[in-house]
Symmetry: C2
Subunit: 227 residues, 2 copies
Amino acid sequence: MHTATLQTRASPQTIANVDGLDHLMASPRRLLEGETLYGEGEKCQSIYAIRSGTVKSTVTLRDGREQVMAFQIAGEILGLDGIASGRHASTVVALEETHVSAVSYADLCEMAAGNAKLQHVISRLLSREIVRDQELMLLLGCMSAEQRLAGFLLNVSRKMHERGYSASEFNLRMSRADIGSYLGMTLETVSRSFSALQKQRVLDVDKKSIRIREPEALVHAFEAQVH
Amino acid sequence: MHTATLQTRASPQTIANVDGLDHLMASPRRLLEGETLYGEGEKCQSIYAIRSGTVKSTVTLRDGREQVMAFQIAGEILGLDGIASGRHASTVVALEETHVSAVSYADLCEMAAGNAKLQHVISRLLSREIVRDQELMLLLGCMSAEQRLAGFLLNVSRKMHERGYSASEFNLRMSRADIGSYLGMTLETVSRSFSALQKQRVLDVDKKSIRIREPEALVHAFEAQVH
DNA sequence: CGGAAGATTGAGCGTAGTCAAACCGAGTGG
DNA sequence: CCACTCGGTTTGACTACGCTCAATCTTCCG
């Protein structure tokens, strides 16, 4: 049975701790808030590992609106969606000062050629991304606004915890509009859902600063039936 | 700019035409309508290529409801979401008589170890799956019921065309309830959307038999602004 | 201080969900 | 042969969740 907890469990096998991979990494690149790492349609020659910071991945719809596809933080990998076509399928923009390491895809392939373990790590990374996307599809396909926000917060909370930060207190780096785009709802509905969860004493919300008062109530809000 | 046309372009590099891969395939397995290929949580030892027929991939939500994650037809690959965790993330059920070939994942890895081309094919397959999922997320996140159905039909139409069948006339193998689950709406809304498109003379609908009268009007219905 | 950008809150409305009834075709049994 | 059921589909009436538009408030920064 699927738990629908939006979990993409931390793996002991991240791309970062494969022997020798460090040699492939160029010196980290620094991005300031608002700077673009790469744009949709650009040639995809590298994938990137986030060393620190937060980014959003977006696509531009034909009517010009920007759709947020993902938020990524330290430890996550960018650019996996570009392997299929050789061009990036999304645009990545920093939401705060962010450091990324590029890994040439060609070099990575070359190194993987003689390294079955690395091959497997790559496949798992890609597969994990598929699972992650499917969890978001579930959330978008069959949950209410408040459930979506609860799921989003639980996901952020878990990621923060995995990286050694507090699971219950953190600052969101993205705007209400970005959250709304990601979750398939308007920024007003995001704001109202925050207020509702605050009124229920589940959260303390002050702009971008979030404190989870009742983690278990938040899980409950996420899992509640959609009647 | 993202075209949001739900296209997962046919690649000349399918897993089926890599030299020597045929040897890895066990004799095809035959599934009757309603039969299960594998279940969520089962150990993932193989991936599968569909030789003929149609299946749906589903996950079971904790309240017992079944959520359709994908429909797949001949030429598509099943089981890629299980590589990350070693267990299948979804359940696959045949929607008609279907033939599939299993490829042992261990054998595939072994063969890939000395074959850079095959490695690349595998990575591209996985990456393509990510792109496909992201297109569905777009559809779920920011489109109206009628747009979703139009997008779904365009997708089916393109897949049929790629496989040498008519792009304008085909039989759907899945129920209204399955389509609704996949598109994040109720079966009643699916039915109403079909009726609306028929009233607009875009489609002829008779139960599962679909004829696209005005392909370009269907594209228009798909791309129309969501005010 | 004024302006801009982001966030919150309210009022009204529309799309899609819910509940219910009717319909249809296929299969079964009297 | 017809009555019956059963699953799937269509359609209608009502409701509600979330969108739109608008006003207000806060924070930040020139």
